[in-house]
């Protein structure tokens, strides 16, 4: 019994290590399939608990990256379950488009940790006012409308400013990821 206890304790440690490492990837994967961020939170949480319950069934004899594929599979199932029980969001895509995105989401989400690293560098390149705007909207989790009141700007102006910042961050990140990929190849 003591050995079993130790084995399950070890399981828990390994699971927390894996999950901490890949949580960002799973979140990015789910976020690419659902629009609403509270839904993303709910699904990631549900998926994490399913993974935890089933972790003793995960084959650990293979490479560690196998955990990510396994986690994506469970997350995908949780997204489907969520979609089937929640009324349609206005911004949900039609089924065929959703399928196309679903088929390609894993490959983008698989590089999420590299994306997060690149984001840190790209954020440093923003002007202080832009960083403040990002922090006000993403950091506090408030709505654009509330953030616009706090910042004394109209929601429309805030949308436009955020769009410009997202565009520049996106371009910066893609450049960084491409550079990393090129360096790895050489």
């Amino acid at each position: 019994m003591e050995t079993e206890f130790q084995a399950k304790f070890d399981d828990g440690e390994v699971f927390v290590r894996y999950f901490s490492k890949y949580e960002g990837n799973v979140r990015a994967f789910v976020a690419s399939l659902l629009h609403d961020w509270s839904a993303v939170d709910e699904v990631v949480q549900a998926a994490s608990l399913v993974m935890w319950r089933k972790f003793d069934q995960f084959d650990r004899s293979g490479p560690e990256s196998g955990f990510l594929n396994w986690a994506f599979m469970i997350a995908r199932f949780e997204v489907l379950k969520y979609r089937s029980r929640i009324a349609r969001d206005r911004l949900v895509f039609s089924d065929d488009v959703q399928q196309l995105l679903d088929a390609e989401a894993e490959s983008v989400a698989a590089t999420q940790s590299e994306r997060e690293h690149a984001l840190q560098d790209c954020l440093k390149k923003l002007k202080p006012a832009q960083r403040e705007l990002i922090e006000a909207t993403y950091g506090s989790g408030v709505s654009i409308k509330d953030a616009s009141n706090t910042l004394g700007r109209t929601p429309t102006a805030l949308y436009k400013a955020l769009a410009r910042i997202r565009d520049s961050l996106q371009i910066c990140i893609e450049r960084a990821l491409t550079k990393t990929l090129t360096e790895e190849k050489t």
């Binding site: 304790f9 961020w37 399913v50 003793d56 069934q57 206005r90 995105l101 960083r131 990140i173």
Partner: protein, 421 residues
């Protein structure tokens, strides 16, 4: 504004939740048509996710800030971990040798492990060891994957026993339909697939198998499969785009023949095409018909549902595959003792490929004076059972057609099914 800028504008508006109907349609159409736009969309979404996950001011605190949701997730896991530790002194079942992982399922699926463990509620992510997987209804389906990348899907009324011995996969399909996408198998250890009438040796290929007590049909889409007819031990190599039928009786020729080109129309030929149900011969001026047979569907611990099911194979023996195309409709003629809701379904395969999905149409049916009915359903009206299936059956091949009623036996009979253009 160039097209790239326009896509970025649309994606930004979607991310902000500020997209009107026409812009949403425009974005959808771009996503549908352009892989580059899809990639861009997914990258924006991943960056949004990263923005929410990390602080924008890491240089001030030395490390990224964790967002509240991350604390919740960790708290949930910590609680689950603590609960597990508390329970660990209770009997913990020994972990069986894992052979495969369930990757999807729908309908009534039953797993019986070699140790006698019976599971009604298999779920995606569940690991399975040696044992028997049964899909118990016409609309049921289960897919599982092996660590080497081999995937298999069983559907309809099927039963397959899975085992692995010293790295060799050994499957026994007792009855039903199986679709296999086999990764390259280790040298000297081909995957063995046994049915009541044949044995197939597989090194790496995509093929579909249907089997009953007397006949096995193996259709190979890619690669090569060696099939032995158990009745006399003769062997055929079945290359891609060929099929072979191994029957216990000696009348059916055992020879690999090219898959015939698909057809877009089809008419059932009963009782030859019967897959599940009892054949009732013509009597008293009534045409012969396939009678639905009862079947219990038990889901988890819920009260079992009684179904009455009849299913039909549209491509028996070496008949050409039936492809579902736009503008076609199914005409179903049958009988019911009294008016009742009837469910009609299609099991489909990818064109020259493996299992694709199941599609359903249901309607209340009123009978005429002699209890007969005739229903015509455009193929587009059949809706997929699971979101993971292709959104429409158009372009797919028909693997079987079924009709069923739930709870009440209302004497469902199918006289004829025809796919019309």
């Amino acid at each position: 504004m160039n097209s790239d800028e326009r896509f970025r504008e649309l994606i930004n508006a979607w991310c902000s939740g500020d997209l009107d109907e026409s812009s949403l349609s425009e974005l959808e159409e771009n996503l549908r048509q352009s892989p580059d736009t899809r990639r861009l969309f997914l990258e924006y979404r991943a960056t949004e996710s990263a923005l929410r996950a990390t602080s924008v001011v890491p240089e001030f605190i030395g490390q990224p800030i964790r967002r509240p949701w991350q604390s919740y997730a960790v708290a949930s896991l910590t609680a689950a971990f603590a609960a597990l530790l508390a329970c660990v002194f209770i009997f913990w079942p020994a972990r069986p040798g894992v052979i495969a992982t369930v990757t999807g399922k729908a309908g009534a699926v039953l797993w019986t492990g070699d140790g006698g463990e019976v599971i009604h509620d298999l779920d995606a992510g569940d690991a399975i060891g040696g044992g028997t997987l049964e899909t118990l209804a016409a609309d049921a389906w289960a897919e599982f994957a092996f660590p080497d990348g081999t995937t298999m899907a069983v559907s309809g009324n099927s039963a397959i026993t899975i085992s692995e011995q010293q790295g060799q996969k050994i499957m026994r399909l007792r009855e039903g339909s199986l679709s296999v996408d086999a990764a390259e198998q280790p040298a000297g250890l081909p995957m063995l697939l046994m049915t009541p009438s044949a044995e197939a040796r597989v090194l790496g290929t995509q093929f579909n198998v249907s089997a009953d007590d007397f006949t096995t049909r193996v259709t190979v889409n890619e690669g090569l499969v060696e099939v032995e007819r158990l009745a006399d031990g003769s062997v055929q190599d079945v290359p891609e785009n060929h099929l072979v039928i191994a029957a216990l009786e000696g009348e059916t020729e055992f020879k690999a023949v090219p898959r015939r080109g698909f057809v877009e129309t089809w008419k059932s030929d009963l009782p030859r095409d019967r897959r599940y149900g009892e054949w009732r011969s013509p009597i008293d001026g009534l045409p012969g018909a396939q009678q639905a047979r009862p079947m219990l569907w038990q889901k988890n611990q819920e009260k079992p549902l009684l179904l009455h099911v009849a299913s039909i194979d549209p491509s028996p023996k070496d008949s050409p595959p039936v492809r579902l195309t736009s503008g076609t409709r199914l005409q179903i003629r049958g009988r019911l003792n009294r008016g009742h809701r009837v469910f009609f379904g299609l099991t489909t395969l990818h064109a020259e490929g493996g299992f694709a999905g199941k599609y359903l149409f249901t309607t209340p049916i009123e009978t005429d004076h002699d209890a007969g009915f005739e229903v015509e359903v455009p193929i587009e009206k059949f809706k997929r059972e699971k979101e993971s299936f292709p959104s429409s059956p158009l372009g797919l091949e028909l693997a079987d057609f079924w009709a069923l009623t739930i709870e009440k036996n209302v004497g469902l009979e199918i006289i004829e099914v025809e796919l019309l253009k």
